[in-house]
């Protein structure tokens, strides 16, 4: 399917288009350092550092060079997968990230699956019965879901399901590679807490997209033709909301990655989120930059895949 030439050309074009985005993104990530007020070297050296120590740090991290030179050096290293070392532990940042990446992704993927499996049926239900009491219930629940602080929901889940009833582990995570079952078991509550906002988002978007399609001209024509409502929904309605659904998935992954940062704090999960929060507090900037960099590259890559999937779902996109 993907092998025909317009699609290949599209892949090529997207790859070229993505380069300036990545360069800009890395510029933003590196630019974070420029936001540090005052002398960066003095900040890094700590409160009671000697002049010599500050000078040493300045030389070590090349802080005397012009900004663009520093950025160029950082980018060159990043391209070679060298994200510098943590100020705190002196470990390579990339190693730390790779170690924690699967834990965070398990939560994000889990939350995405929950959001879709709960959100899609609810969205369809609400859209096909728009204006009914059921629709009102679903819409109100999704309004609550959007306004619900996910870390608070996480705390309630821990207090009830873990601490009171002991159904699920309250804190921690297990590495998926060593014990898949235990890893999933530990990820259930965090994923549910993370998914609350996601479900609400899926329901809202799917409902409004489906309502628009079901009230369109061609659906009226299908009714006139004598097609049953079920056939219209399954054969024509859902095919046309696939594009919306893809957009929502792209949006959700970025949002769930962010949400995981807070949820990891509640469950004391050693993922990328708890890593970046700690690093931000102790001013371990290479770690902060490394995590932000990894996440933005991940989101850009996922958005690209979604862009390509548009052409599979909707042939009109490929022809343009």
């Amino acid at each position: 399917m993907l092998a025909n030439s317009p699609r290949l050309r599209l892949v090529g074009r997207r790859l070229v288009q993505i380069i300036p985005v990545i360069v800009l993104a890395t510029f933003v990530v590196f630019g974070l350092l420029k936001l540090v007020p005052g002398d960066l070297a003095a900040t890094l050296a700590g409160e009671y550092a000697t002049e010599e120590r500050v000078a040493q740090i300045r030389a070590e991290y090349g802080l005397n060079d012009p900004f663009l030179v520093q950025y160029g050096r950082w980018l060159l290293n990043a391209v070679q997968l060298d994200l510098s070392r943590s100020f705190q532990s002196n470990e390579p940042v990339l190693d730390q990230i790779l170690h924690r990446f699967p834990t965070t992704m398990l939560l994000v993927v889990g939350a995405l699956l929950i959001s879709l499996t709960v959100g899609i049926p609810l969205g369809i239900l609400a859209a096909t019965r728009a204006g009914s009491r059921l629709d009102m219930v679903v819409t109100s629940i999704s309004s609550f879901g959007v306004a619900l602080p996910n870390f608070w929901l996480a705390m309630i889940l821990v207090a009830t399901l873990s601490l009171s009833w002991g159904w699920f582990p309250a804190t921690g995570a297990v590495r998926f590679a060593s014990d898949p079952q235990g890893a999933i078991w530990h990820a259930v509550l965090p994923s549910i807490a993370l998914a609350a906002g996601g479900i609400a988002e899926v329901v809202r978007q799917l409902r409004s997209a489906l309502i628009e399609i079901l009230s369109s001209q061609y659906v009226r024509t299908l009714y006139a033709k004598g097609l049953s409502p079920a056939a219209i929904l399954w054969k024509h309605g859902l095919k046309n909301v696939a594009v919306t659904l893809l957009t929502v998935i792209g949006l959700l992954i970025s949002r769930l990655l962010g949400g995981a940062v807070v949820i990891e704090a509640v469950f004391a999960i050693p993922g990328m989120g708890s890593m970046v929060v700690r690093a931000a507090i102790v001013k371990d900037f290479p770690v902060v930059q490394g995590v932000v960099f990894t996440m933005v590259i991940l989101v850009i890559a996922i958005n690209m895949v979604i862009d390509l999937l548009y052409t599979v779902v909707d042939p009109r996109v490929a022809l343009k």
Binding site: A147, L148, A280
Partner: protein
């Protein structure tokens, strides 16, 4: 004004939301008068107390009155939301206006920057910016505002693209109006409506972001009260006093819900396709 009445008359939820927010603002402004105790007054002889006539919502782990801390947390929460959204508006609206109106390479560059910034998971970028600027509520909310600005810029750009085609824009150009005058007097006022809706909805997102950042220890610093910070403390005592987490959580939920309800009502009221004549 007339339209405001029409809209409020037909939307009970919006009225409730508006009343709730007015009440909350009053509470925030009059916090020192209304709150029964100072927010940081400790009473170590009366820790994690159950609700009573002296302490309607009980006391926290340092014996501080939960109700008073909740009331005193309102001003910083509202300030935080409005600060973040103001920063986003001040950056996003002019940039979007410029991109949409100028077109060409200006638009290309700005749009590319917007796309890039939207690729960052918002709260993670906000954490990074807060870490760089220094921890604290004001810096955290400036960071959140910066994170919100590309979304507003994109919306404003899209609106400007539509409005700049209008005849009255051409007309004012024929009369020799300066670029600044055209943008401020003609384009901006006509393109701003969806932005106002979005800004109202963003207040809720900013509120949740503030709560998250304060919960993580990057926002309001103890001993000052904040709803997110109260939840962070409650988290430490979850096993012995789980009831500590209900009041701040409900406060966050209801306020975010009120902003959202108001935003949705505004959207409906301003949506030309739904206006009944």
């Amino acid at each position: 004004m007339r339209r405001l009445q029409d809209w409020l008359g037909g939307n009970a939820a919006a009225v409730v939301a508006l009343l709730f927010l007015v009440g909350l603002f009053t509470l925030a402004l009059a916090a020192p008068i209304i709150a029964p105790y100072p927010p940081t007054a400790q009473n170590l002889g009366n820790m994690l107390a159950e609700p009573s006539w002296q302490h309607w919502m009980g006391t926290d782990d340092l014996g501080r009155d939960v109700l008073s801390r909740l009331i005193h947390g309102a001003p910083s929460t509202l300030f935080a939301s409005f600060l973040a959204v103001s920063v986003a508006t001040v950056i996003g609206v002019p940039v979007g206006l410029l991109a949409g109106f100028m077109g060409g390479w200006v638009d290309d560059i700005i749009s590319r920057v917007i796309d890039t910034l939207l690729s960052f998971p918002g709260i993670v970028l906000a954490i990074g910016v807060t870490g760089a600027l220094g921890i604290g509520l004001t810096n955290a909310m400036i960071a959140v505002g910066i994170v919100f600005s590309p979304g507003l810029a994109r919306l404003m750009r899209a609106q400007t693209l539509v409005v700049k085609q209008e005849l009255y824009v051409d007309a004012s150009r024929c009369f020799g109006a300066s670029l600044g005058r055209i943008l401020v007097k003609h384009v901006a006022p006509n393109a701003i409506q969806p932005v106002i809706v979005q800004v109202t909805l963003l207040l809720a997102v900013a509120l949740l972001a503030e709560a998250s950042l304060s919960f993580l220890g990057l926002g309001v610093q103890p001993p000052l009260p904040s709803w997110g910070g109260m939840l962070a403390r409650a988290y430490n005592y979850m096993e012995i006093a789980p009831e500590q987490m209900y009041a701040p959580g409900i406060a966050i939920l209801l306020t975010a819900l009120a902003f959202n309800t108001l935003g949705e009502a505004l959207r409906q009221a301003l949506d030309p396709t739904r206006r009944r004549r």
